[in-house]
């Protein structure tokens, strides 16, 4: 679908900060509050705005650090449904955070979050690799997250270095 300029602006603003108030969004794009609310509702209905979430640095929370693994999965596509069926079987597991169909050496990139390496390993060996269409898996554990979805977790001190008043 084609978005109007204002709609596109709303999407960009909310993508950066989903918690900003509609009042402030309205001022930023120069529409009334009511128009802005309607516009947001429409975008939600159209599933352009799919869902609002928060980027959490779980590694900071004792006992909840968790592990994330990226798994390269080779599969046999099925006649008629291609990769969709196996992708669906994989993404239905709640441990699975993302599934992408990839070009290159493997087919699906699956991102899994678990409480421990053991939990992830169990998932891979019990659930994932036992699926009929799955030929092989290669698991990579993430050691440290520097930047996630455009957000830097521990930014270097890029605080305001400007002098307080200048011409």
């Amino acid at each position: 679908m084609k978005l109007s300029e204002k709609e596109l602006e709303v999407v960009e603003i909310l993508e950066k900060d989903a918690r900003i108030s509609s009042e402030d969004v309205a001022k930023m794009i120069g529409l009334s509050l009511q128009e802005t609310d309607e516009l947001i509702k429409k975008l939600e209905k159209e599933k352009v705005l799919v869902h609002y979430t928060t980027v959490v640095d779980w590694s900071k929370i004792d006992g909840h650090e968790g592990v994330t693994a990226m798994i390269d999965v080779k599969v046999t596509p099925k006649r008629g449904v291609g990769f969709d069926e196996v992708a669906e079987r994989i993404y239905r597991f709640k441990e699975v955070k993302s599934v992408y169909l990839m070009s290159g050496a493997y087919d699906l990139s699956v991102i899994i979050e678990g409480k421990s390496m053991n939990e992830v390993a169990r998932f891979v060996s019990n659930k994932l690799s036992t699926l009929d269409s799955v030929l092989s898996t290669t698991t990579h554990f993430i050691l440290k997250k520097y930047k996630h979805d455009g957000t830097i977790f521990e930014p270097l001190a890029e605080d305001d270095k400007r002098i307080v008043v200048s011409p």
Partner: protein
Amino acid sequence: MKQTKSYLAKTVEDLKPSGIRKFFDLAAGMEGVISLGVGEPDFVTSWSAREAAILSLEQGFTSYTANSGLLELRNEVSSYMKKRFDVDYNPKSEIIITVGASQALDIALRAILDPGDEVIVIEPSFVSYAPLVSLAGGKPVAVQATEEYDFKIQTHQLEKAITDRTKAIMLCSPNNPTGTMLNEKELTELATFIETHDLLVLSDEIYAELAYDEPYVSFAAIEGMRHRTLLINGFSKGFAMTGWRLGFVCANEELTAAMLKIHQYAMMCAPTMAQYAALEALKGGREDVEDMKKSYRRRRNYFVQSLNDIGLSCHIPGGAFYAFPSIVSTGLSSEQFAEQLLIEEKVAVVPGNVFGSSGEGHIRCSYASSMEQLQEAVKRIKRFVDK
């Protein structure tokens, strides 16, 4: 030896210190200040430009460049000016890379002024214009742009200031501190006036990249004005490169040759690593610049609307990153307002009168701050005004 003071140049002694200085001193010592007093972007220079400067240092590019700057950079500037602003300048003979737009202003003024020559400075104006004219031996003549015309200068206002010594007009659009931008029609009217009075124009176009509503038109692109214009631009505002001190000036060959004489004796060349950073900034595509502009526009909309909601009436500034609201409704002078706001609510703004007499009754607020800071500043200003 006589007292040191008696050795000082009269011109320098007569210069008034900038009114901004006072607010800097006042604000600098305070904790928890939200500053809307900053005349520069809140973005850090793009990583690709910073990286290019680092690379140039690693490769040992630490020597002088040609006086007028790296030819490669002048080539890029030339095609940038052509593509963006539809003005044609020969990179070999009509462009000089300078130490910020400020130095470009300085050599431009020194190149054209004889003692006693007059330059019209349209106020409210950037605080350096009049002192630079004086230092170049000229006489600054202030003309007031007024709120009733949204601070757009009218030719009938200029008319009264013309004498037989008037040589040039300093033009700054989009303007610091008002944010006002002249559109093509208004520039064309001004051009007719310039032609009639046979003047030169120093066009400070440093905010050209930050035009939000109407397309930006360079004064040199107005018919017949190329030969009358000393076009000053740079990387500070649009490319968020203030600290690199890199600007440029474009003008016809004779004017450029005159400026280059001053530049080669007084400056030699602009810093080499900064030139490499600027080269990358120009080559690196426009995405960063467009993103920053978009972000400023949203913040402008938010901030100006909020000021009007509070009861500080503010015209919509077409460019730059300044709002220039009227504070007359509070019954305070610009200085009183700025001083009390800083002390009571810890928000730093610049009183409008430091930019010229028609700035009285206004304050300059830079909205080049994060949305969070602006939201908090709006809250504080509202509390202050409601008291």
